[in-house]
Symmetry: C2
Subunit: 349 residues, 2 copies
């Protein structure tokens, strides 16, 4: 195992000081071209690798950004990570990605670990369990920039980027109405989570706007953040529940693709025709939505763009950090309806 080359090794070789070498490698303007060249040459020859840790200690900044995802196995989060990376790599930052597994306890642990590692900032989406945000406040108290995305703790003073879930709910339901549906049910997520509240609000407002009567029994709230298999089952159960109702709905807007997929499986089994007897729209445009028969209409979220924006927020914050008053900014992204067979009644329109 070779000994690592340091700045002073190079300095010695060239009979200069480490500072000169440091500056030369930094392409400092006041270093002569000849020394720069010499340094570069030796550095290469010695296979010099800068010691980031030393530099971080000295500069008080690690060039690492912590990213917290509730779970990394969804295209949703993977794509956001890619979006973040796209932006920050040019600025020399590395990402350290952590999963909270939707648990507040792990979320706390990860935040502590990240702070201990001295990250330069944290970009996070809050776990479904989380209702108390003290651990997030801690981040800001330490003077570490915080950016939230998608699931943002209300009441948290931080830059954030979210999809317009209200609009997502609205256009989903508006589409169903335009397809001639009049009795629209809703699989809602837990209402303590902002995004699910917003989707529900969109649902309600769209119905109101088109004078569609609202029936309390058609709204079923449940935990839509879970193991996919479980949500699938849940979707089946909730569909069963709707079918048992005296007045059966003719459409379902599900705040989760997986619940909608379960519904489709269940309806297929019961030989209930989709979309003619019951039309469906899901949320988040998961890969499986294009696989199921009939294809599930869904709301696509611009995840990569979301990652981009989160990264930009972070960079902004870094650059305005000193001095002036911090006023949190919220970026609202616009979702898009992806239409498939599950909702397409007017086939010739």
């Amino acid at each position: 195992m070779k000994k690592k080359t340091t700045l002073s090794d190079i300095a010695k070789k060239l009979n200069v000081t480490p500072s000169t070498v440091s500056r030369a490698l930094d392409d400092h303007p006041r270093i002569s071209d000849s020394t720069k060249k010499a340094v570069l040459k030796i550095a290469h020859q010695f296979n010099y690798q800068p010691n980031n840790i030393a530099s971080a200690l000295r500069k008080g900044k690690s060039n690492i950004i912590g990213v917290i995802v509730p779970t990394s196995d969804r295209q949703f989060f993977a794509s956001i990570i890619r979006g973040i990376e796209e932006i920050v790599r040019n600025e020399g930052y590395s990402l350290i990605i952590c999963q909270s597994d939707e648990q507040t306890s792990k979320e706390k642990e990860k935040i502590d670990a990240l702070l201990q590692i001295q990250v330069d900032g944290i970009i996070a989406s809050v776990a479904k369990e989380t209702t108390d945000y003290d651990h997030f406040k801690k981040i800001r108290n330490r003077g570490v920039p915080l950016v939230l995305y998608d699931r943002i703790g209300e009441s948290l003073e931080a830059n954030a980027v979210v999809i317009n879930d209200y609009m997502g709910g609205y256009i989903a339901v508006e589409h169903l109405i335009q397809q001639g549906c009049k009795k629209i049910a809703h699989f809602a997520g837990q209402q303590h989570i902002g995004i699910y509240q917003d989707r529900m609000r969109g649902y309600l407002e769209a119905m109101k706007a088109y004078n569609i009567p609202f029936n309390e029994e058609w709204v079923i709230e449940s935990d839509l953040i879970d193991d996919t298999q479980k949500i699938l089952e849940l979707g089946k159960e909730m569909t069963q529940q709707l079918l048992n109702l005296p007045e059966r709905p003719d459409a379902i807007f599900s705040a989760s693709d997986f619940a909608a997929l379960g519904a489709i499986q269940f309806l297929n089994e019961k030989k209930i025709s989709i979309p003619d007897e019951i039309a469906l729209v899901g949320y988040s445009n998961d890969f499986a939505s294009s696989i199921i028969e009939p294809g599930l209409t869904s709301i696509d979220q611009y995840t990569k763009q979301m990652g981009n924006m989160a990264a930009k927020h972070f960079l902004n914050q870094i650059n305005t950090k000193s001095g002036e008053q911090f006023t949190p900014e919220l970026t609202l992204l616009t979702p898009e309806l992806v239409i498939r067979a599950s909702s397409l009644r007017n086939k010739h329109v």
Copy 2:
């Protein structure tokens, strides 16, 4: 923004030296209980957070492990990450997760970045593009422990953990044979990648073992690591290709679930009955395999266990690092067949 508390802040407060404080926090045996208590109290009061960077610089170790995944949006990799974390968190390591996006160039970049950050080890799966392994050799040359998982560069001297893909291929095809299939096609992955070679070998050996004739035309090799949508399309095209053959196969063993999903969609469209006319088995047991109609029989890989094993390899390596000769170890995990309707001909067995 508060100033951070350091060891000497605490030391000053207690009229002792930083060394004592350091030792006290380390629970060093030769520090009196009274000072320990005092230090702990003040540390807590001052909300002391150890500066990991300083410690890393001093100790020459960062307690960070770099993990490289080709892409993080597959359950496969997410689950492996979880498996790794489960093991190393107790040892005080953090993970820094990077995506190579299947590109050799990014793979190199990431490795450089990780080395620069001074990670204590790297756990990686190689990108599909990669055929030259110099950048991996660099890791070992630096004396940084390297563990490979799933896609391991042949010829690379490193600890590794892989699924027994040969067996995966074998049991998949054996199952088809037992269901009465006699003309079994294979969607093969690129043969420069070990796992696809092995799956193909399993296919060939199982046929040989049961005296099933082999037809070259029934094997179609293609790039099975790509955007899921693309593989889906590919699956359709390959299926079309098989149907055009003078002698049409009665089963397909696909080295990728996604290609098999495409096949199912295509066959459904053409009203060709599954599994009676054509039976199917996929590979990796993706979520979508349980969603499609009929359900796709597939090979499940014990991903979390794979992560666990990779982590253990890393820890072993850390502990035997000094001195003795390094002999790479390979762990072989056993895959499992998950049977669904796409292959179940003998429905009453």
